[in-house]
């Protein structure tokens, strides 16, 4: 995975958790599915990221007992996480727009 894609994992994980609480394996599968394999990474690297974000107060983990199979730790986004997500998403949008402009592939901004 390139540094660019690696650097975006935090904002991608936060954006998934903003939609619903998820556990580690679910996050890995969703990232793979939604990016059609583009954001391919060793799944084990996801946990240090989740634990770091939990320490930073961006997400909160809670164990949930599952009837069949081992318990799962679900991660919820916090208010601070939502604030960081909003800021990071805006930065990434600006970055990609500027980059496309330089490359001469500027797209029309989506109408609201």
């Amino acid at each position: 995975m390139t540094d660019l894609r690696r650097g975006s994992t935090k904002v991608l994980v936060l954006s998934l958790l903003a939609q619903e609480p998820m556990y580690g394996y679910q996050i890995a599968k969703e990232l793979e599915r939604r990016s059609e394999g583009y954001f391919d990474f060793k799944e084990g690297t996801l946990y240090p990221l989740l634990h770091r974000m939990e320490k930073e107060g961006l997400v909160k983990g809670a164990w949930q007992v599952v009837e069949k199979g081992p318990s799962r730790k679900y991660y919820h986004i916090t208010e601070e996480g939502e604030r960081i997500l909003e800021k990071s998403a805006a930065e990434w949008a600006t970055f990609s727009q500027r980059l496309l402009k330089i490359l001469g592939q500027e797209t029309e901004p989506a109408s609201t």
Binding site: G24, Y25, K42, E43, G44, Y47, P70
Partner: protein, 152 residues
């Protein structure tokens, strides 16, 4: 390729963290690998092949353990710094600020021990309020406090 238990024991040996933290991490990773292997098994692989594929997708135990250690060691270092801060402030107050004020002649109060103790008690709040892992914060605070008391 190692079995699930071999992989987890290898990972556990590399973590160098306190037991409760280590157990929580291993529980989470075990849950991940079991579910991942289950998905591969559903695609027709044998149980052994499924677990080997799940472990391969998860990554080398050394790398995962190293990244996880960095998360927790950074946090412990911050706790030690936060714990050192109130003690350093108290000592600076007693040995630098008060003597300076006394020299200026603008300080008429008694410099010890009530003020120093009150300040130290107030400063006690700092590690607890700033550190998520408050136990490390207070353990380090107690350590530095003993050193400070020994110096007085």
């Amino acid at each position: 390729m190692p079995s699930l238990e071999e992989y987890l024991s290898h990972l556990a040996r590399q973590l160098y963290l306190d037991r409760p933290t280590k157990e929580k991490i291993l529980q989470e990773i075990r849950s991940h690998l079991v579910e991942s292997a289950g998905d591969f098994h559903g695609k027709g692989y044998s149980p052994e092949e499924s677990m080997a594929l799940a472990i391969a997708r998860f990554g080398e135990a050394e790398k995962v353990a190293k990244m996880m250690r960095q998360v927790y060691v950074e946090s412990a270092n911050q706790a030690v710094l936060a714990a050192l801060l109130p003690v350093a402030l108290t000592m600076a107050f007693k040995w630098v600020i008060l003597p300076f004020l006394e020299r200026l002649g603008s300080w008429q109060g008694n410099s010890t021990p009530a003020i120093t103790i009150s300040l130290a008690l107030l400063a006690l709040l700092i590690p607890g309020l700033t550190m998520r892992r408050w136990r490390y914060g207070y353990a380090a605070w107690a350590f530095f406090s003993l050193i400070a008391i020994a110096q007085m």
